[in-house]
């Protein structure tokens, strides 16, 4: 049963990723990305990572992508009409490089199965909100606090850049 669920989710994830890249309409692209993220959340559940599955939907699909859509609507971005209207060397080159990278990664992934045969039993207990919360506030305190700084900086920075204010100080 899990195998079938996985196949469906995996196909969905890859298909939506592809659709996102080749779609001319930016809004559609964004929606495909949402679909991709939701299917990933499903895969996370298969891997016993419940906490992350929820976060994935809440933060990524829910918050980040809404922000994307909001900006797309705000800027009223034009469609990329010229995409794929004719063959370009660039596309071929990009495809070739992509194949090369995938090939190398696949090559180096060989043999992982023997190393990690199956999902660990411990996982059912480890992936819960409780377990994650526990380590976040003890072992991972420093990165956690630093993330707070990071987010503050991001918000302050975004305000600085996006705000439309031009100041006049005295001329030198």
């Amino acid at each position: 049963m899990t195998v079938y669920i996985f196949i469906v989710l995996a196909v969905l994830a890859i298909a939506s990723a592809l659709a996102m890249v080749i779609n001319k309409n930016v809004v559609n692209s964004a929606l495909f990305l949402v679909l991709n993220m939701v299917s990933l959340a499903g895969i996370y559940l298969l891997l016993n990572a419940q906490f992350l599955a929820i976060i994935q939907i809440l933060v990524y699909a829910g918050a980040i992508m809404v922000l994307f859509l909001f900006v797309i609507m705000l800027l009223n971005v034009e469609q990329e009409e010229k995409l794929f209207d004719k063959f370009r060397v660039k596309y071929f080159l990009a495809f070739l490089l992509g194949v090369a990278v995938t090939g190398q990664i696949f090559y180096s992934l060989a043999g992982v199965t023997d190393m990690l045969p199956e999902i660990s039993d411990k996982m059912a207990a480890v992936g819960t909100v409780e377990a994650v919360g526990d380590v976040l506030f003890t072992t991972y305190l420093l990165p956690f606090e630093l993330t707070a700084i990071l987010l503050t900086a991001a918000v302050v920075g975004a305000l600085m850049i996006a705000q439309h204010k031009i100041k006049r100080t005295e001329e030198i």
Partner: protein, 100 residues
Amino acid sequence: MLEIDWFLAVSAVMFTIGIIGVLIRRNAIVIFMCVELMLNAVNLSLVSFASYHGNIDGQILVFFALAVAAAEAVVGLAIIIAIYRNNLSVDVSKINLLRW
């Protein structure tokens, strides 16, 4: 039971699609979405490794990656807005004032 290879393979393919997207798309927002796709692909790898190793470090890394992605989204979209204000376009092939 599913072997880890399958998860990693899905992740690698998604990562590559992200790369190709960055290379061929010209809309800055879409390029950024492709980057988000790459990050998601990596997250999948991390989660699957964590599950098969049976320790939580990988999941924590994903958690932080999510936070970083959120922060990047905020800043990135702000920058894209600034670009749009200046150029009235988000087509990166037209944004090449600084070069050579």
